[in-house]
């Protein structure tokens, strides 16, 4: 277990190292940060002086070495636009994004588990066929369309939901607030969460259904029936526990991917999270912020994968968490 965590920590460092190289190498192709900062009216000499001062004219390796030296001390540079440490700017927006991911994950679990199990147990029923049909459509509709559709129906036509923003938040510390603790915040969270969930939900229903159908064919399920135990126990203990194993593995990766989808959702709903900030940073060519965002997202990936492996090891007795 200890060896496992050490190994994961090491992996995390490698992943983040690679991300930093990649994001650092593409920054030259993003555009000129000075134009955004200074506007058009500044003379070429002034620009060059500025570039020298900021170290933007140094060779790539020098720049990268300087970046890395500071990065290991937790300093990912200063945002050109906010004039604040890039990491701080990102982390301040992290709660909003995590709220969204949390809301969507909750929706996915609450809907996909019962619907997936139901349609696996009763594959021929009309309701199962409806579930499958709707989920096929769900997969093929792009996120922004879902968002616009939801906003149109629930915010504009029915007026039940706010169309954008995060609403009132609860201030936990100076830098940490959450929409999960106010009624207004939760109200604002509903539509964006459903939008974010809409991509993964159909996938999860199908995944759970197909895994469960396979498990139900297995010998140990037949044996469970032959023991005369209740259907409830066969389905929800014997079959479901085995169904969960592959679902956890795939699901963990998908939840990581969801962080990427937050960019779209946050933009459509003006949700003030990291993704929204990232898009703004790209527009402003705020390189340190872009790099910081990518590194934080990388870290989230590594953390979710580690959690997934821990849960998997917990559910599956044949797996021992080792350093190998």
């Amino acid at each position: 277990m200890f060896a496992f965590l050490i190994r994961r920590l090491f992996q995390a460092l490698v992943v983040m190292f690679v991300i930093s190289i990649i994001s650092f190498s593409i920054q030259d192709n993003l555009g000129d940060p000075l134009r955004e900062m200074l506007g058009q009216s500044v003379s070429e000499e002034q620009r060059q002086a500025m570039r020298d001062e900021m170290g933007l004219n140094d060779p790539f390796l020098t720049q990268y070495g300087r970046f890395l030296g500071k990065a290991v001390q937790g300093d990912l540079g200063t945002s050109y636009f906010f004039k604040e440490p890039a990491l701080d700017v990102i982390l301040k927006k992290l709660p909003a994004t995590l709220e969204l991911v949390f809301g969507a994950t909750l929706i996915i679990i609450v809907f996909s588990v019962p619907l997936g199990i139901y349609s696996a147990i009763n594959p021929q029923s009309i309701f199962s066929k409806i579930i499958m049909g709707v989920s096929t459509i769900g997969i093929s509709v792009p996120v922004f369309l879902t968002a616009i559709g939801l906003i149109y129906v629930f915010a504009i036509e029915l007026g039940w939901m706010p169309a954008f923003g995060r609403g009132e938040t609860f201030q936990i510390t100076e830098n940490l607030d959450t929409a999960l603790l106010t009624a207004d915040g939760l109200h604002h969270l509903i539509l964006p969460s459903f939008t974010l969930a809409s991509i993964m939900l159909p996938l999860f229903i199908r995944l759970i259904r197909s895994e469960m159908m396979e498990v139900l064919q297995s010998e140990y399920i037949k044996f469970a029936w032959a023991k005369g135990i209740s259907p409830w126990r066969v389905y929800f203990l014997h079959a479901f526990k085995n169904t969960m194993l592959p679902v956890i593995t795939v699901g963990g990766v998908q939840i990581g991917t969801m962080v990427a989808y937050t960019i779209l959702t946050e933009t459509v709903f003006q949700w003030p999270g990291m993704g929204f900030l990232f898009l703004e940073a790209v527009n402003r060519v705020d390189t340190p912020l872009i790099v910081a965002y990518l590194i934080v997202v990388g870290a989230i990936f590594v953390v979710t994968n580690t959690l997934v492996d821990l849960i998997y090891g917990f559910v599956n007795p044949t797996v021992k968490l080792t350093g190998k």
Binding site: K227, S230, H238
Partner: protein
């Protein structure tokens, strides 16, 4: 009243291309404590028969006709809920591959206790005590540590012992064992078979032993049913069937036994293969492979008729019997 009486059982599978009949007109009886062997080639319908006795044929299969009387009660017509009180309780089933029969994510103890508690109102503690006792009966080494282990921590032979122990948990009247040793090491096969016979004898449990292996059948069972393409083609006391098989198919099976071949000689396999259920020949299903075909064999399906101490479904046998009757 016999313990089990199967009458004219017919089982079909509803497939997209139309339904196929996997079992036709199966009838036999089993007394309390009796051991019955069911033999036949792969695909003959042995497993389907085993599962249909406990009314557990997986979709799209269903019992189309006939009855399965267990202590006089027709299991084929029972509601699921009532059927559950019989499965695992009065009739236990043991499967072929112990590597696949136990749920990998539940402990041995969980899988034993749940079975007991499904049929008896007892506490978890009491259920564990009974489970432990049954593990001792199947001679599991250090039984008390096993309850908290997972299947993957045990060898194949040990797992099959546990499956047998689960079968014995509620002191059933009948155990259906579907090739219980096929997946095991040759050295362990005999051990497990011996164990099953011992336990059945001691507790007066009836056994239906499904197998390919006529050798095992001759050692273990008192009566034998030979199946071919979903039908019973010969049935009678095991001794008579082994020593004096009448149906050409049964004779073929016996001649194919390794013990029957002379050293250095090839095994005497029956030529050809068993036809699929949806392209059965007209008349006797074995006729295309039979060395003794008569014109009648292509026309009518032979009925199971008494011949000596056995029942045989073969035109040749019937004809010979008629001749000898005329001669007398």
């Amino acid at each position: 009243m016999p313990l089990l009486e199967v009458n004219n059982l017919e089982v079909c599978f509803g497939l997209r291309q139309g339904s196929v009949t996997a079992l036709r007109d199966i009838s036999f009886q089993l007394e309390r404590g009796e051991r019955l062997g069911i033999v036949g080639e792969s695909g003959a319908g042995k497993s389907v028969l085993g599962f249909s006795i406990i009314n557990l044929i997986s979709r799209p299969g269903f019992i189309n006709k006939g009855e399965v009387l267990f202590e006089g009660k027709n299991l084929a017509a029972l509601k699921n809920k009532e059927m559950r009180t019989i499965r695992g309780n009065r009739i236990a089933m043991i499967f072929q591959d112990p590597m696949m029969t136990l749920n990998p994510v539940l402990t041995i103890g969980d899988q034993m206790v749940e079975c007991l508690r499904a049929h008896r109102k007892i506490s978890k503690q009491d259920a564990r005590v009974i489970s432990l006792q049954k593990l001792k009966q199947v001679y599991i080494p250090s039984p008390d540590t096993r309850l908290d282990q997972y299947p993957h921590e045990l060898s194949g032979g040990m797992r099959q012992r546990i499956v047998i122990a689960i079968g014995l948990l509620l002191d059933p009247d009948l155990i259906i064992a579907d090739e219980p040793t096929t997946a095991l090491d040759v050295t362990i096969q005999a051990e497990i078979m011996e164990l099953m016979v011992e336990l059945c004898e001691r507790n007066n449990v009836a056994l239906i032993l499904i197998t390919h292996d006529l050798g095992v059948v001759s050692e273990v069972t008192q009566r034998t049913i030979v199946m071919y393409a979903g039908r019973v083609i010969e049935e009678g006391p095991t001794k008579e069937i082994i020593n004096d098989a009448q149906h050409p198919y049964t004779q073929g099976l016996i001649n194919a036994l390794p013990q029957m071949a002379l050293p250095g000689q090839r095994l005497n396999q029956i030529r050809g293969t068993m036809p699929g259920l949806n392209d059965l020949p007209s008349g006797c299903a074995f006729s295309p492979r039979c060395d003794y075909v008569l014109p009648a064999c292509h026309e009518a399906i032979p009925a199971l008729t008494k011949s000596g101490g056995c029942n045989v479904a073969c035109h040749l046998v019937t004809e010979q019997n008629n001749l000898s009757e005329v001669n007398e």
